[in-house]
């Protein structure tokens, strides 16, 4: 068990294993995402309240879901960085933060565009939109802090502290924004909630969520490998990999 743990922390081991998995992640992710999107766009039945604009859901929900779970993953990795000082954990945080930022932006953008035909306005200070916006600020702060500190090790640990402080705050922010929202405006604008989604709608949604998850896994692997290569340039195994093309 402990040996496995140590192995997991070794950049070399990760590099080898991720290289083997990456094609499968990418292929599976693209196939699932495309299947979900095509199904959702062309074959899923029309929503009787929102018409066709609801088809944005097949990318809006996956991005919003990923944006939040990426932050949770980062927070777990940050905890590992601080407690066990595992090298891979801080490589993960650093590699994944920009992906999280882009996913959050996409969730906001698709939400705003969806809002135009549904609510009649691009932006409302809806609780969910607002807390997503704040999540984007948190990602931005993490990236900015990481860029600002030159020393690799202290950058990793400082970022880990920031991510953990952020994750303590996320439920507070979410709760307070919801509270604020009910105080300031009656809930006239709400996503129409239907009793239950028919299977023709939630199956493609599930497919695209899974697909995006796998694509994120692939992206994380590529970016982590980049970071590992640049950190371990002086080791023999990187040299062998670069010159001979194998780990």
């Amino acid at each position: 068990m402990w040996q496995f743990f140590h192995k997991l922390g070794s950049p070399k081991w990760f590099f080898g294993i991720s290289t083997r998995f990456m094609p499968w992640l990418l292929a599976g992710g693209v196939i699932l995402l495309m299947a979900g999107v095509v199904w959702g766009l062309a074959f899923a039945p029309e929503d009787y309240l929102q018409g066709n604009s609801y088809r944005i859901i097949f990318i809006h929900v996956p991005t919003a879901f990923m944006a939040q779970s990426v932050y949770i993953m980062m927070a777990s990795a940050a905890l590992v960085t601080l407690v066990w000082r595992m090298k891979l954990a801080d490589v993960f945080v650093k590699a994944v933060a920009p992906v999280g930022l882009v996913l959050t932006f996409l969730a906001l953008f698709t939400g705003a565009v969806w809002g135009k035909p549904t609510w009649g306005t691009w932006w409302i200070w809806d609780a969910r939109l607002t807390s997503m916006l704040i999540l984007m600020f948190l990602y931005g702060g993490v990236i900015a802090l990481d860029r600002a500190i030159n020393d690799e090790k202290s950058a990793a640990r400082a970022v880990a502290v920031l991510v953990l402080v952020g994750v303590v705050n996320i439920p507070i922010i979410k709760y307070s924004v919801e509270w604020w929202n009910t105080l300031h405006q009656p809930a006239t604008f709400k996503l129409t909630e239907k009793p239950s989604m028919p299977a023709e709608m939630w199956v493609p949604l599930l497919l695209s969520v899974l697909g995006l998850y796998l694509i994120f896994g692939w992206l994380a692997c590529v970016r982590m490998q980049t970071e590992i290569l640049s950190r371990e340039q002086r080791t023999r195994w990187v040299r062998e990999f670069v010159m001979k093309g194998r780990v």
Binding site: L82, I134, F137, L138, G140, G141, A144, L145, A148, I149, D151, S154, R157, A158, V161, L162, L164, V165, G166, V168, N169, I172, I173, Y175, S176, V177, W179, W180, L183, H184
Partner: protein, 241 residues
């Protein structure tokens, strides 16, 4: 200012208890602060100026000011606390006092708590004292001003405590000031929401006890967690070399 003029922290050795060490840091920081009085005035001036911008920039209408006044005062207070945070550790970092503080046998988070307390007493508290004057200028009624002061009294220590984490993280970096705001503003949002929300609720005639209790909960949470995070961040920043 030369180094000899700055009072030293006298708390070396295990013989000094944690409380005595906190008191030492507190007294010393107060002394240092009062030798640089301009630094004490700057956040207050900033506060007043930001508040002045709103009637000039948006509208001097009584109805607007009455509605937005509490929010404006809260945002201005938040910004001026943010502005002053850069000084929280900066001077001590520059002259090496901070490293000595980290090396003390007493738990670092208690010493940071003392430093943060000084910071709040010198920025947050004067802001609260100044608020009634500005509240009158914003045409707020007496009840609102009272509630506003109360929320600021509970809220500004939270701002100082969370800010200490950011100040510790950005210590010694180039462009630390802007970075500090980027990191800290998202974390300030809940305090702002509940601070202004309480005043709004009071204006509508609701009872505000529950809201104040929530703000108090934030304060307790920040008091217990923030010094630990700030201490961890401070150690990381100092090892940065």
């Amino acid at each position: 200012m030369n180094a000899e003029a700055r009072p030293v922290v006298r708390l070396a050795g295990n013989s000094v208890g944690a409380l005595a060490a906190m008191k030492g840091v507190f007294v010393r920081d107060m002394k240092v602060a009062f030798r640089q009085r301009q630094d004490l005035l700057n956040p207050l001036l900033f506060f007043v100026m930001v508040v002045t911008l709103f009637p000039l920039g948006v509208s001097p209408e009584v109805s607007f000011l009455r509605e937005a006044g509490a929010g404006i005062l809260w945002v201005a207070a938040l910004l001026s606390v943010l502005l002053s945070l850069d000084h929280l550790f900066r001077h001590d970092f520059d002259d090496g006092t901070l490293e000595q503080l980290v090396l003390q046998p007493q738990p670092l988070f208690l010493l940071i708590l003392a430093k943060t307390l000084v910071h709040w007493m010198l920025t947050g508290l004067p802001l609260v004292i100044l608020t009634p004057v500005l509240g009158v200028m914003m045409h707020l009624d007496g009840n609102s001003i009272g509630i506003l002061c109360l929320t600021l009294l509970i809220g500004t220590p939270v701002l100082s405590l969370i800010g200490a984490i950011g100040a510790a993280l950005t210590l010694g970096l180039r462009s630390a000031g802007v970075l500090l705001s980027l990191l800290i503003i998202p974390l300030y949002i809940p305090v702002l929401i509940f601070g202004t929300g309480t005043v709004a609720a009071a204006a509508e005639g609701a009872t505000v006890g529950a809201y104040l209790a929530l703000l108090g909960a934030f304060l307790v949470l920040a008091l217990t967690l923030a010094p630990f995070a700030a201490a961890a961040a401070l150690k990381i920043s100092l090892s940065n070399g």
